[in-house]
C-alpha cells in the first residue's frame, strides 16, 4: 500500500490542544465541523491549505497532551492522510492507528514544506520526490499494520472480534 501527498511542515511538541482545541472538541462529534479548526491556534488558515491526501511532517513528540481521539479523527476529516514525525506521544500514536491515520516515525529533517511525498506502509519506506531522498521509517508492530490495513480499530475489531498475532 502506498500513498502520495504533499508535506505540511510543523515543529516539535505539537500538542493535541493545537491539533484540535478543547473548546471545540467537547461540543460535537461532527468531525467535519472539528476539521475546520485543526491547527488553528498555530496557523488560522491551515484547514484551507490542505489538499486531500496531504501529510503533516513534524519534529519530536507530535501529539503530546490529551487522550482526545478527536485529534487524529479531525486531521483525517480535514484530509490529512498521515503524519510523519521524529517521534510521537504514545496516546496520540495509538489513537492515530486506531482511527486509520498513518503515523510513521522517521528522520523528518530532509523534508521541506510543500514537498511531494510517497509513503509505503508495508515496506516502511518514505520517498520525498521533491528532494529525491528515501527515508527509512521505524517498523510498526504487526498488530498496528493490521489495524491500519483495516482502516482502523472499529473495522479490525468487527472483523476479528479480538486482537490477533500479538
Amino acid at each position: 500500500m502506498s500513498w502520495r501527498g504533499y508535506a505540511h511542515k510543523f515543529g516539535d511538541d505539537i500538542n493535541t490542544d493545537y491539533i484540535i482545541s478543547g473548546k471545540h472538541k467537547f461540543k460535537t462529534l461532527d468531525m467535519n465541523e472539528l476539521a475546520k479548526h485543526v491547527m488553528e491556534d498555530i496557523d488560522p488558515n491551515f484547514y484551507q491549505k490542505i489538499k486531500p491526501g496531504d501529510f503533516i511532517v513534524a519534529g519530536k513528540n507530535f501529539g503530546c497532551g490529551s487522550s482526545r481521539e478527536q485529534a487524529p479523527r479531525a486531521l483525517l476529516a480535514a484530509g490529512i492522510r498521515g503524519v510523519l514525525a521524529l517521534s510521537f506521544a504514545r496516546i496520540f500514536f495509538r489513537n492515530a492507528i486506531n482511527c486509520g491515520l498513518l503515523v510513521l516515525e522517521c528522520n523528518t529533517s530532509p523534508i521541506q514544506n510543500g514537498d511531494e511525498m510517497e509513503i509505503d506502509l508495508l515496506v516502511g519506506k518514505i520517498y520525498d520526490h521533491t528532494q529525491g531522498v528515501q527515508i527509512e521509517a521505524r517498523p510498526l508492530p504487526q498488530v498496528m499494520i493490521d489495524i491500519l490495513q483495516e482502516g482502523g480499530l472499529v473495522n479490525y475489531f468487527k472483523k476479528y472480534g479480538s486482537f490477533r498475532g500479538v
Binding site: 490542544d17 482545541s21 473548546k23 491556534d41 497532551g65 481521539e69 489513537n95
Partner: protein, 418 residues
C-alpha cells in the same frame, strides 16, 4: 534479573514472564471514560455492532469536563452517556460529583496491583496507589468495554529517586514541575516512571497523586509509586476489594535512574506555553496576573484547599485578579465547607465553581481574556488550553497561586507561610 513494578503487574495479568518491549494482550481491572471522550467511545461501540459490555461493575463514566453543560450540543452528549450507562448498568458520576481521576481513587475503585485504562491522559494519577494506570483513546475504551482486554507494549521504566527534605512552602507540585524541567516534555515517552525516595515516603496520598498525575507531561505511560502504610490505609478506608500489592525487585532493571536532591528546591513555576520550561519563583521578573485558578485533578484536593485558605484567610484577592476555585470532588467541597475554608476563600474574594474540571480545559467557567496572564494549579499550560490562545498560563502550587492572587503578580508563597 529482577523486574520493575510495571513488568510485574503485566506478568501477573498475563501469567507469563514479560520483558520491556513485549506486546501482550492483558485483561484490565477497570476502565474509565469522561464526557470529552466517552461519547466517541459509545459511537465506536455502536459502530462495532457490540451488544454488551464485558463487566458493567468494571466500567465508570464521569461527567466532569464540561459540567454543568454550557450548551445544547453538550447536553445531548451527556444524555447519550446517561442512557448508555443506564442501559448497561454502568456507574456514572454525574455533574458536580468531581473530576474523574479524583473519583477513581477516592471512591476506592482502583487498588494496588491493578491494570487500569482511562480515556483521559491523566489516568496515570492512580499510579500513586501502586497500580499500572494509563490513558487510552475513545475507540480503545470501546474495545475495553466490550472485551475487557487491550494490547499493551510492556514499557521500560525510568526510576526517579527523590532525596532530601522539602522546605516549608515547597510542595509536591514544585517537585513534579522540577522533574518535568529535568526530563523534558518527551523525556519519558513510551516509558513508565517509578517514583522512589524519602520525599515520596513523607508525602501524604493527596500529594502523591499530584506527582503521578503529571507523569504524562513527560510522555510517560504510567507513573508508579511503591505502596506503603499510607497507601494501604487510603485504600482500606475506601475499597472493599481484595488486592495483592506489587513491589519492584531490588535488582530490577531500569532504563535510566535519576537522582534528585529536593532539599534545595524552591517554589517552581512553569512558564507559558510549556510544562517543561520551569523557573524558581525567585528568578522571575514581576509578572502581573489577571486570573488565578485553584483546582483540577492535579491540585484540587483537601491539602491544596487547606494551604490556599491558610494564605488567603483574612486577606483580600487583588482587585485586578479573578480567583476561581474548583474543588476536585463533592466530598472535598463538603469538607472545605465544614472546615470554614469556603467561607474564608469567598470572603477573600474567591469564586467557587462546580466540583469538576472547572476552567482547566477551556470549555467554560473562567476563559481568560486576550493577553491575560493566568496562574493555575493545573498540569498543562499549552497555548489555548484554557480556551483563549492569546492568554498566557503559568503553573504552580496552590500556595503560589493563592499568594499570587493576593498580590496580583506571581509571588513566592513562603512569606505567607512562615
Amino acid at each position: 534479573m529482577g523486574k520493575t513494578m510495571s513488568e510485574k503487574i503485566f506478568e501477573r495479568k498475563v501469567n507469563h514472564a514479560v520483558q520491556p518491549g513485549d506486546l501482550v494482550i492483558a485483561p484490565i481491572d477497570c476502565a474509565m471514560g469522561q464526557d470529552g471522550t466517552t461519547p466517541l467511545a459509545i459511537k465506536s461501540f455502536l459502530d462495532m455492532n457490540a451488544q454488551s459490555v464485558f463487566d458493567h461493575h468494571k466500567i465508570f463514566f464521569v461527567i466532569d469536563h464540561n459540567a454543568p453543560s454550557p450548551m445544547e450540543s453538550v447536553s445531548r452528549l451527556h444524555d447519550e452517556m446517561r442512557s448508555f450507562a443506564q442501559k448497561f448498568g454502568i456507574s456514572l458520576f454525574d455533574v458536580g460529583q468531581g473530576v474523574c481521576h479524583e473519583l477513581m481513587v477516592a471512591k476506592g475503585l482502583v487498588v494496588p496491583g491493578d491494570l487500569v485504562v482511562g480515556a483521559d491522559s491523566h489516568t496515570c494519577t492512580y499510579g500513586a496507589l501502586g497500580a499500572f494506570a494509563t490513558g487510552i483513546g475513545s475507540t480503545e475504551l470501546a474495545v475495553a468495554m466490550i472485551s475487557g482486554k487491550l494490547w499493551f507494549k510492556v514499557p521500560e521504566t525510568i526510576r526517579i529517586n527523590l532525596h532530601g527534605t522539602l522546605q516549608e512552602g515547597v510542595f509536591a507540585k514544585d517537585v513534579i514541575l522540577f522533574i518535568a524541567s529535568q526530563l523534558k516534555a518527551d523525556g519519558a515517552n513510551y516509558k513508565a516512571i517509578e517514583f522512589h525516595g524519602p520525599v515520596i515516603d513523607r508525602l501524604e496520598m493527596d500529594e502523591r497523586f499530584t506527582i503521578s498525575n503529571m507523569a504524562v507531561e513527560m510522555g510517560a505511560k504510567a507513573g508508579l509509586m511503591v505502596p506503603d502504610d499510607k497507601t494501604f490505609s487510603w485504600v482500606k478506608k475506601r475499597s472493599k476489594r481484595d488486592f495483592e500489592s506489587v513491589f519492584p525487585d531490588p535488582n530490577a532493571r531500569y532504563c535510566e535512574v535519576v537522582d534528585l536532591d529536593c532539599s534545595f528546591l524552591t517554589p517552581q513555576v512553569a512558564l507559558p506555553h510549556r510544562v517543561d520550561t520551569v523557573k524558581s519563583v525567585e528568578e522571575l521578573d514581576e509578572i502581573p496576573i489577571q486570573e488565578a485558578f485553584i483546582g483540577t485533578c492535579t491540585n484540587g484536593r483537601i491539602r491544596d484547599l487547606e494551604v490556599a485558605t491558610r494564605i488567603l484567610s483574612g486577606r483580600k484577592v487583588h482587585p485586578h485578579v479573578r480567583l476561581i476555585v474548583a474543588p476536585a470532588s463533592r466530598e472535598i467541597f463538603l469538607h472545605a465547607l465544614q472546615m470554614g475554608w469556603v467561607e474564608e476563600i469567598v470572603q477573600a474574594g474567591g469564586v467557587f465553581v462546580t466540583p469538576g474540571c472547572g476552567p482547566c480545559v477551556g470549555t467554560h467557567q473562567g476563559i481568560p481574556g486576550d493577553g491575560w496572564n493566568v496562574i493555575s494549579t493545573a498540569n498543562r499550560n499549552f497555548k489555548g488550553r484554557m480556551g483563549n490562545a492569546s492568554a498566557f498560563i503559568y503553573l504552580a502550587s496552590p500556595a503560589t497561586v493563592a499568594a499570587s492572587a493576593i498580590e496580583g503578580k506571581i509571588t513566592d508563597p513562603r512569606k505567607y507561610l512562615r
